[in-house]
């Protein structure tokens, strides 16, 4: 298949609309064709940039108030109990809508948070200088963050494991600084994001494990910090790294 034919599939790839079979063949092609891989990454970045730029307009408080009033049911005198079944049905419908909307909003927030962190992971790997502190020594990497973050964290001893620490950098998520640590297992890179676990922050809404564009992710909260591991490594590897970090002293 020529590159032109592969490129016809890139929109479906960035929109996560490929079948598992198409995804596997596309990713196999990316491994042998840097041009198509770069084009896919560009289109993914373009989609994310459009998403950020298009969230442009918000309703004014006055309009919100006016709308709230205009769709509020008008109060009418109660002549009897004939209205009760209709009102009860309306209340149930409103409650169902509210629950459905809340579930949908949570799901959307979770997907957006994960997508953003996957983007950060991919962008880091695409960079010529993925980390700002390059060291396999946790006693070098951890102190490097001193004065750069409003919190601290522990890194695991990796001597008896298959993982290797590559380094770290400061990243920003939801306007707050956090740490991004890069680990390696075999040929796979894993990003560990450490952020302050603020109530209502988007990562809070993420599930414990997730998949986004075939990346595996795990998240947990501990000591006021939110940890998120993202990688193309297997879910078992992601889980093992999670256990090592949780056990770090």
């Amino acid at each position: 298949m020529t590159c032109d034919l592969w490129r016809d599939k890139l929109d479906a790839y960035v929109d996560a609309a490929c079948s598992q079979e198409e995804l596997a063949s596309l990713e196999a092609h990316f491994r042998t064709c840097s041009s198509c891989a770069a084009e896919a990454l560009s289109r993914l970045q373009m989609k994310r940039m459009t998403q950020a730029a298009a969230a442009r307009y918000s309703p004014s408080p006055e309009f919100r108030l006016r709308m709230g009033k205009s769709i509020q049911p008008k109060r009418r005198p109660v002549w009897g109990l004939a209205w009760m079944p209709a009102m009860a049905a309306a209340a149930v419908a409103v409650a169902l809508l509210a629950v459905g909307f809340t579930l949908w909003a949570r799901q959307t927030a979770r997907e957006q948070a994960l997508a953003e962190l996957v983007d950060l992971h991919v962008a880091t790997l695409a960079s010529a200088n993925p980390v700002d502190v390059v060291s396999t020594d946790r006693h070098t990497v951890k102190p490097w963050f001193q004065g750069k973050l409003p919190f601290t964290f522990n890194l695991p001893e990796l001597q008896n494991s298959s993982f290797k620490l590559v380094g770290g950098r400061v990243m920003y998520f939801e306007h707050s600084p956090g740490a991004q640590l890069l680990f390696q297992i075999r040929n796979h890179q894993l990003s560990v994001f450490i952020l302050q676990d603020r109530p209502g922050a988007i990562p809070h809404a993420m599930g414990a494990t997730a998949r986004e564009l075939a990346f595996n992710a795990e998240t947990w909260s501990e000591g006021g910090l939110r940890y998120v591991v993202v990688s193309d490594a297997s879910s078992a590897d992601v889980h093992d790294l999670r256990d090592l970090i949780r056990a770090a002293k």
Partner: protein
């Protein structure tokens, strides 16, 4: 009010004007409340709301004008592979949020709306088909053409800036 802020953003992109966007959102909710009995439980509520808003927009004067001015090219025509003159990575590094917003504003409505539904609202192709009332194959070809038009607008903007 479910979807209120998102519907408003979509309406503002369609109408390009605050007062018209407010009227459009208000009419959408009124129609949705009046016609709630026509909503089939178990089907996609979000696509239903966006479809009402879009259909309402298309009946307004601005909507009629916008839909009349779009390209009459077939949606199902073969999409030519795009080979940008400059590497897209260079382009992406230079374009800013405002540049993307300007390009979105310049796109014909039928391209603008499909990019918004896909990239901002993250609708699936099937959801977009339900919202726009078109088959999935048309969704894919229209989206591809819309993104190509967007890339061309951004490339033209960049070339203008470099001169």
């Amino acid at each position: 009010m479910p979807l209120f802020a998102r519907l408003y953003n979509f309406a503002h992109w369609l109408t390009q004007e605050r007062a018209s966007a407010e009227d459009l959102v208000q009419e959408t909710y009124m129609k949705a409340l009046r016609g709630f009995s026509s909503y089939q439980q178990g089907t996609n509520f979000r696509a239903w709301m966006y479809r009402i808003l879009r259909n309402t927009f298309l009946t307004t004067q601005a909507g009629l004008k916008a839909s009349a001015s779009v390209s009459l090219d077939s949606d199902d025509e073969t999409v030519e592979p795009t080979v940008p003159e400059t590497p897209e990575s260079v382009l992406l590094a230079r374009v800013e949020r405002e540049t993307i917003q300007e390009a979105l504003e310049k796109l014909p409505v039928k391209f603008r709306e499909i990019i918004l539904l896909c990239d901002l609202e993250e609708m699936s192709y099937q959801e977009m088909g339900e919202t726009l009332g078109i088959p999935m194959g048309t969704v894919m070809s229209r989206l591809s053409r819309a993104r190509k038009a967007m890339r061309e607008l951004l490339a033209a903007k960049l070339q203008g800036a470099l001169r």
